[in-house]
Amino acid sequence: MSNYLYLLWIPLLPLVSFVVLGLFGRKYLSRISGIVGTASLLASTVLSFIAANQYFFIDGKVNGVYQKIIAFKYTWLEFSPNMSIDLGFLIDPISVMMLVVVSSVSLMVHVFSLGYMKGEERFATYYAFLSLFTFSMLGLVLSANIFQVYMFWELVGVSSFLLISYYFNRPSAVAAAKKAFIVTRFADLGFLIGILILGYYGGTLDIGLLIERLTTIQSTQFISITSASFLGASMLTWGLTSVFIGGAGKSAMFPLHIWLPDAMEGPTPVSALIHAATMVVAGVYLVARLFPIFSMDETALTIVTYIGAFSAVFAAIIACTQTDIKRVLAYSTMSQIGYMMFALGISKNGGENGLGYMASMFHLFTHAFFKSLLFLGAGSVIHMVHSNDMKDMGGLRKGMPITHIAFLIACLAIAGIPPFAGFFSKEEILMAAFHANKIIYGIALFTAALTAFYMFRLYFSIFWNKEASIHSNHQAHANKIEHEDHSDSEGPWTMKLPLLILAACAVGVGFVPFSNFVTSNGAPLETHTNLLFSIAPVALTIIAISIAASLYKKQNTKSDKIVTAVGGLYTAAYKKFYIDEVYLFVTKKIIFPFVGQPIAWADKHLIDGFMLLLAKITSYISASIKGLQSGKVQNYALYFFGGVLALSILFIYIWK
């Protein structure tokens, strides 16, 4: 087995860049901080590709199976002799695949930001945070210990917070960042409890050992976790469901999705990296990481399936109504992650039945490229138009040809038109769903059609529709924002190059023979593209695209008529089905007035009041008896006399 210790550099380089830029960037490196960050990440990316090459092609399979390798391990925090947080790297197909995805998308975003964020006052801080995020995400995917996953999980959360609130003097950005952190923190509590449960019964926090013990039916650990139950469900179900809650929070699954659309307040490249390609799929990755254990518990998998499927269709419906282009993309992300989730949920572990697992990872892989492309494309558009709203856009295909082509490719890819990347991965998911569960298959098909519709609604609204009305808009905004440079409407090459590279990926990555590399048990899986099977989804997609074209390609009133016809449903979807309002109601109207305020009140008045009462009683008693020590001899004589009298009476009459 060859040495993988050099993998340490992959997360360490961004960490070094974070520390250097964080400490000295502002003062000494403000000009070159972008270059520093990008260079360190370029090195990481190259190393990731070297690692992938070594893992998949040089070392390859042993007995037909890709090995799980522990590259290194260091006991970081020991709780008790067999429970400890070990920092280590687990190298297996999914972690290597994620390394490649995270580092390459992050590199593209780093390059894009060189142009997009140019002239920002806190340019160095931006790159420092970007490096921090990349470090945390790379650490997360390489984790060999479930508590280590949790640590990096929290770190990506805080990097996300810092980047969303990058424009810190904008109250909406701060509110969005807070919301993202708190909602995911709430979910993380589930993850933590899940870790406690699985760790307690598994007797270890090491992922490999945990999987080994909890998938062996005869093992004492498996027997104890399945025989212990609470409220009718086994502790295995509780543990896995709790872990899934954590994953659902990060991956914006219903009903914990509310933070994702708001997170679009961050700079657009950040949305491309964190809220489209990498951090939000961490939940999927987590379930995949523990998939062998999940596959032992039907209940937990069913929960994953239905939450995933519901989120997919729910978000797709909302996406059809939003007008902020970044929010459309955010809901689209949520919908696509739902796809990945339910694909995991319907899968079994190993062999032919493991198709769902493979498909899910494949979709994660392709989605990362075309979704980050969509966001970066949107970034270019926003950079030019200075608005997030589709209503301010239209006819941009002439002014920004490169962005236009790249965006079109990405739309075709996400819609699932062959031969673009999304087609292949989506087909595998549909195939898996078709074999496993017809209801899910129906939902998936419907969602696929919706996806095509809202993506092309977006595409036509930006690049076609009303013609060249943007120029006045452009002028108006240009006066407001001074630091922008508009000599080239599509931005500098640093912004165009990533679009081109990612567009190439969105075309090409579908041809990667993914099932040879990443499967549930490490052995290659035979997949066949069935042309007959593909007819239905592709036809549906094309119909959906034509509908979108007829409604939005030219300016017309057809779409408004439909809106009036659908009425309440449209409003409900436009208002995101009022989920935000429910949360606001629970926090603002229930937790604050009925939990927080009473506690604060009770503390001041009851508990502290009781202490004050004790003090008052003491001072009252002392005040009332202090007169006894007056210093007047005649009073003392009187008390003395009274005492003698009382004692005499006591002895003579009562005592006898």
Binding site: R26, T75, W76, L77, E78, F79, S80, M83, I85, F147, Y150, M151, F152, E154, L155, V158, F161, S165, F168, N169, P171, V174, A175, A177, K178, F181, I182, R185, F186, D188, L189, L192, I193, L196, G199, Y200, F230, F592, V595, G596, Q597, I599, A600, D603, I607, D608, F610, M611, A615
Partner: protein, 493 residues
Amino acid sequence: MNLSLLILVPLVTALAILFAKGLKQIRVIGLIGAVAQLSLATWILKLYMVERAAGNSATHLFESNYSWFTTLHINYHIGIDGISLAMILLTSVIVVAGILVSWTMDKLSKEYFFLLVLLSMGAYGFFISLDLFTLFFFLEVAVIPKFLLIGIWGTGNKTNSAMKLALMLMAGSALVFVGLMGIYYNTNTFDIVEITQMGISVGVQKFFFPFAFLGFGIFAALFPFHTWVPDGHASAPTAASMFLAGISMKLGGYGCLRIAALMPEAANSYSWIIITLATIAIIYGAFATMMQTDLKYINAYSSISHCGFVILGIGMMNKTSVNGAVIQMVSHGLMTALFFAAIGMIYSRTHTRLVSQLGGLLKVMPFISTVFVIAGLCSLGLPGFSGFVAEMTVFMGSWQNPSGDYRFATILSGASIVVTAVYILRATGKTIMGPISDEHALLADATWNEKLAAGLLIIGILIIGLAPFLINQLIMPSTNILMSPITKAITLK
């Protein structure tokens, strides 16, 4: 190594301050004394680790024992284990930081610095004592300065706060004293080592444990005897708040731990009460914090919540949880001191601590704001900072207890991490971020002394947060020894 140096250095510093003239001389002497403390503590750490590495597995190292009141069996018996050494290091770091942030204290500076140094002397004496009477003596030495510091240099309703704090802590001392007397009259000694060896009869334990534990619990902000904390901290001047939260409250936690180890059977049978109170403190403190509007009150209430983890860890009574409790003491000490330092820096510039009147400080004070954010992130238990290590160790330990009720308590306490995130982000979002008001737009960032103070505390937080195996190496062997009577008591039952 003569541990009495730990008392001698502050004592000499305090006397030197009395003879110094003017703020400039006083603060330099104070700083020299504080740095001497820190160097001494670090040196002791080095010697301690060398001894341990050489295979010295005695419970306490560097012991010395002098008879004090022979007839009453009171000895000046001192010695340290890993736990007390951790506390000593914590104290010395906070003293340096506290002196540095008081750099411009021109009101009665001689008295101010004198009291700060005196307080640290009491703390050191407390942590090195192996004799219950000596321990109590130093506990009292550490109480009085707090009253004066708040009453004279405080802000707001300072007289009331000072009285409340002093009276409640005195009540705590009185309870501790009753407990110690109970132990003394049944064992005829004050010596902790001897008592541990001979044990105390279970009946006596059950009667006197509540007194002693509750007494120390008041120092550690045990619910419902925590009400001195918010007012006391809020009224105290910056350095005093740092000392109060960073050092004084630790006297309580440390005392609780020692008492539990001395009376293991009683501790075990009362553990459910301890856990209940701790859980309430954690979640109740967190919610109460959420409703506060004054930065100092926010930090003070959050201290109640965080100190609940110390008590919870002790109450859960296994090696992991107690280890977590000790780490939490150190972590909380550093973190709150940092928080109070940051709040003090903000207050001295803006003259307000109300969240609603602040905003966007990141723009004018990037350093102070970063310090504030770091303290906040540590408080909400972000990995990489000490809070994460401490809280997770307590959780892991608590979960080892298979009883359903204890699991419930653990989950409830765990829920506090969400509430903590809410109040920390609210405070950060409003004060550090958002738009800045015009009157604050020209304020200056931290001065060198403030930077140094914050930097020192942050280094401490990072050492624990990034390399927890170091602190584990120091305290784990000692907690294991400390816990062996308790483990025995639990298994016998």
